[in-house]
Symmetry: C2
Amino acid sequence: MASTTSPVNGAHALLQTLAANDVTVCFANPGTSEMHFVAGLDQVPAVRGVLCLFEGVATGAADGYARIARRPAATLLHLGPGLGNGWANLHNARRARVPVLNIVGDHATYHGVFDAPLQSDLAALASALEGWYRRSTSSNDLPGDVADALSGAYGPPNRVATLVLPADVSWGDLTAAPTSWPLARRRAAQPFDEQRLERARRALRAGGAALFIGGQLDEDQLALARRVADATSSRLIVETFPTSLTRGAGVASAERLIYLSEFAQAQLRDLASLVVLGTTRPVGFFAYPNVASELVARDCDVIDLAPPGVDLNATLAALVAVTNAGALYVDAGEAPSAPSGALTPESFAAAVAATMPEDLIIADESNTSGLHLYGATRHCPPHELLTLTGGAIGFGLPVAVGAALAGARPVLALESDGSLLYTAQALWTMAREQLDVTVVALANRGYAILNLERQRVGAAAEGSASQRLLDLDDPTMDLAGLARSLGVPAHTVTTADELVTALRRSYATPGPTFIEAVLPTSRF
Amino acid sequence: MASTTSPVNGAHALLQTLAANDVTVCFANPGTSEMHFVAGLDQVPAVRGVLCLFEGVATGAADGYARIARRPAATLLHLGPGLGNGWANLHNARRARVPVLNIVGDHATYHGVFDAPLQSDLAALASALEGWYRRSTSSNDLPGDVADALSGAYGPPNRVATLVLPADVSWGDLTAAPTSWPLARRRAAQPFDEQRLERARRALRAGGAALFIGGQLDEDQLALARRVADATSSRLIVETFPTSLTRGAGVASAERLIYLSEFAQAQLRDLASLVVLGTTRPVGFFAYPNVASELVARDCDVIDLAPPGVDLNATLAALVAVTNAGALYVDAGEAPSAPSGALTPESFAAAVAATMPEDLIIADESNTSGLHLYGATRHCPPHELLTLTGGAIGFGLPVAVGAALAGARPVLALESDGSLLYTAQALWTMAREQLDVTVVALANRGYAILNLERQRVGAAAEGSASQRLLDLDDPTMDLAGLARSLGVPAHTVTTADELVTALRRSYATPGPTFIEAVLPTSRF
């Protein structure tokens, strides 16, 4: 790398390396130690800084961005508390197996020995993300560190990469500015195991089999899987929480694994074999007394044919070949018509389905209230569903921010009141960036899923201490008011008709809209 | 421990052990894996569950509770994401050296091998808190684990203790329920070093010395320190961010270490020696190019006489003895009269001082806007100041929740718009529990401290990418609307007169009040 004449500091070099690697968005919540990075944004306009008012918004946005753009965004976080605040949505990104690059500003290298108030063990915090981690130690090394971090993020499988940027590495000048910036190494996915393919072929031919598929699933992959399933009279089951799932008219369909363990076990009970593709074998989201952790029957033959990191497209193509699969048949059908009357989980799902525009992205954190959504949207215009991969709530609004910035497509974020309150700050970024996001917040005034779980433990009296820990109705929150306070136009609807009207109006209007949909309080 | 007849499950035993150890409040954001703990609250009414809508509220509340009650509250958190969301305020609690007991629900012990979506490395996350950590592995061991955790939390110095509670340990029955519950071991603080005392005595006698004091400081400790300082013509300087500091009329005063390094260095420049008590030696909050990390001059003799964990009262008494310190003299003075006219940082401080009731607790996260507060409140009625010990913003509102529950005293939370948005969910808990908290939110529509830091790096053009990452005025947030949406009555004030009126009304009214105080946009 030949040198040029004008001095380049670490932050500038870092940003140039990001731009050279097509990392063009940085979701930022900066502090003092990141100020040279912030200043560098004026010199490298190819990287767009997007301000988030809380780090969990920044990390969730990077997750959503990667799910749609299929390449990483950067986050800019402020020392340990910044990484801590962003940790939960990074956990979701880890489970989604999407590439994310965290830049975590830290004290200057020589300042560490003094244990200043904001210092903490960043390596320990990051290690719990089980991805790539490095602390950069010199401005000259920084471009290479960034390229290595991106190599780590890309896997395969994709991972969360965390690069710690000490303040002096950021502000220090490089001794020689390179004329080109280093690029991340992209490795090919691993090949599938031929013996497992043969085992899968025999299992599918033997009958009573299912393909269990997950991860980031596009229309072509679903078509291949559907053809294999049809050729072998097998079932095609998608994991409960895929990273992204293309759905709608003309797209091969798959049944979805049910969330609650007992129901999932009933769903999988009769399977003789399960061929697992693009994800890991099904397991209970939680353990319960006297309920097995594994969801398939004891004698079901589980074949891990394409674990994460293995080439899913090649595996599916091989399955098509060895099963002599025929052409794709997709059953025709119609989206529900616009519902009327009371707002219920059923009419909510129908309203979403009846109004859906082309190419919609849905960030689904509707939880219990969204139970009927998957069925209702089967024959809608093609769309993409993003789900709660890691189970860390507070994912929906931030992911919607990132998804909206990644694609020039409308985004629908489905929220419940309980989960909305984790990262509501994302609404402000939607307003600031004028993102085409429609938020539907289902207000059932309680942690409905927990009320259900509470009942399983034993009866709880109304007004009891335990019941009071699961209710959100004292005081009642004004979710529409919350959205307006953060700059997003908001409406409250109480009927299905009003929800349909509000959805149609929102899709026709640029910028974000917030719709509070009040459901009857649900305690199951 | 003799056994009784009725079966007791782990959760019940845990709660009984908490109650036996006088841990009577649990700030909770539960999930499925914590449901037996939640159910157990109905059986152990001595432990009060307080619902928080975000884990950062729960952990900050536990911090605030411990600062006032001087004993730990418990938190109830949901797996890794729960601990992650609560991490930043636990970092503040760690730096405050207050006792906190985290109960982190986790998957059942046998479920771990399946790597379900919510699983993560809790030990790594907790290790970054540098406190006490254990994963309980059996219901029978749980009471002992809780007592050990509390022993760990009490130190001295106090620490954050994290006990992981697998779901089956929580729901499993003890083989024999004990008739008494184990108690935490309380260790005495360590004695001071006699040689260092002699060194300190000589340094104080030699002149040009200062006492540098920090931690959790009550009126008696400040009186002893003031007497020593006066007897030796030394200065008495309190750390920038003490855990708690009693102040006001009749209370011995101390100058406060300035936040910004260059000013702090000027403040300490002429000191020949510094006797450090109850805290660690002063260090720059951040590093800056060409600014030393240490705040005292190179030739200043720093004597770590009473580091955290050493008996501060005994050390101060010994200093009084070896310096033959006389009686306490406290200078008289008057609180400012109620200000009028424009709302500025100066008139804001005067308004707070002029209206202050007896025994107020102030949770101060006013940041740049609170610059004049320390001076203005010197002669107010006695009150207690809680500050941002670990530098992780989002501390003020949660700490106010905990402080209000710990003492039957009015609480004033001073917030800036930037920091308020981190953990605004605390407002809902204030409304739900009808806490006597007055929130003053200083809206200057920007990250003022960062605008200052940005200017130090070099000029930034108005509307530039870097400037845009530090401004909060597009869109403007309606902070009063935000508070109302979460159930707290709110007013917006734009003059000093209105602020005075609003403060007086709030102190006279039970329950929480939110006052949005609009300041001119400040970019320094």
